[in-house]
Symmetry: C2
Subunit: 209 residues, 2 copies
DNA sequence: CCTGAGAGTGCACAGTCGTTCACCGAAGCA
DNA sequence: TGCTTCGGTGAACGACTGTGCACTCTCAGG
């Protein structure tokens, strides 16, 4: 036996997380039963409690995990912005990275999109908080862009909220359009257009005193 | 007895719809049981089938009903646009009307926001379709605005998608911020700023040939 | 080597679930 | 007036739910 005990435990924990993620693909956390998860994992229902004290706790763990994926995406986006030249380049690369990550981490994005609106209150709150953090990060990024020197912090936050909202919506449409590459390409192109429109508006913007 | 039979039936049907709407306030359709609804209404579970063949069918009825509210809002918005002078006026009145309607029809907006992401597939599809219709309507409205004469139909749709997305997000935040008037006022102000930013961007926009 | 911790088992419980069926009683039509 | 239609009833079913408890077996540490 080359597997230590904590490794075994971790493996089962992962299996539970994966099973929940899989079962959540076409339902919601609030409609997910402990016994379904246990059956999917291949353990007895009561063994579930060795890892999580409730489905809700499982949900919070999944939120943490999902936002690790999401932050990895933001990191890639930032890297792309550094490399790209001009606004058009930033927009193109950012949307491409979004599409790519949505594909690679489909389950995580799907989970967030669904539970953001329908999950247990604590899960909703956790997701809301994480997204707010993302908006804050984006706001500080935007502050470094040329043309925003005179902006108020307030306006930066409002703009980044708009951008995040649009990108979340784009991710959601890509998820529902999954499997039709032409539709997806169109959605990505639309997202690029929207980003360009918003940035053009932003360039003209002057914060009120 | 001054109540005819079809009236009685309609009254029960309404009671079922209201009960479902009420129970959905802090859960989701997929986690809603036929028996809960029946108990809330005060009828026996099997009587439910006299009105709907399943919870899913109930959901579709609620979608129809909710979008009646939503279209009433759009009608008010359009009327406000006719009266208002200038972009600023249009933006101000539109957001005010949105806030007002979200308050008046809280349950309908909450239902749509939740089931849009988490409902049964058919319900999600129905909501998606209705929202797309709204986007189409908005696109034709935008086409009448000065400055959009040269726009492609494509770009009009993309812009209206952006606006609808932002407004849906605003409605959702207002719903979660419910009860804190200062927070709500701030959200409304942010929505106005976002709309202005977008419209400024749109004014500069020229569709590619 | 012995012992204790702890992941996983098996059974049992009291509820709840959707759905079936036969039935009732009053409204509506002839 | 009598007959039909139909919204609502009540019991019953088999399946599924979360959770408690006593148990086993095995790995890790003294």
């Amino acid at each position: 036996m080359t597997e230590t005990r904590v490794e075994r435990k971790e493996r089962t924990r992962r299996a539970i997380l994966d099973a929940a993620l899989h079962l959540c693909e076409d339902s919601s956390l609030v409609a997910l039963s402990l016994r379904q998860v246990a059956k999917e994992v291949g353990i007895v229902p009561t063994a579930f409690y060795r890892h999580f004290e409730s489905i809700e706790a499982l949900g919070l763990a999944l939120v943490d995990e999902s936002f690790v994926s999401l932050r990895a995406m933001l990191r890639d986006v930032r890297r792309g912005e550094g490399a790209a030249d001009g606004f058009a380049g930033i927009v193109d690369s950012s949307v491409s990275i979004l599409v790519e990550h949505v594909h690679q981490q489909r389950q995580h994005f799907r989970f967030i999109a669904r539970e953001r609106a329908a999950g247990p209150p604590s899960v909703r709150e956790a997701i809301r908080h994480e997204i707010e953090l993302c908006e804050r990060e984006l706001a500080t990024d935007l502050a470094r862009l040329p043309g925003t020197e005179q902006w108020s912090g307030e306006d930066l936050r409002v703009l980044s909220n708009l951008i995040v909202t649009a990108m979340v919506a784009t991710a959601e449409s890509i998820l529902t359009a999954s499997g039709r590459p032409d539709v997806e390409r169109q959605l990505a192109e639309n997202a690029r257009t929207q980003l360009r429109m918003v940035l053009i508006g932003a360039m003209q913007w002057r914060s009120r005193p």
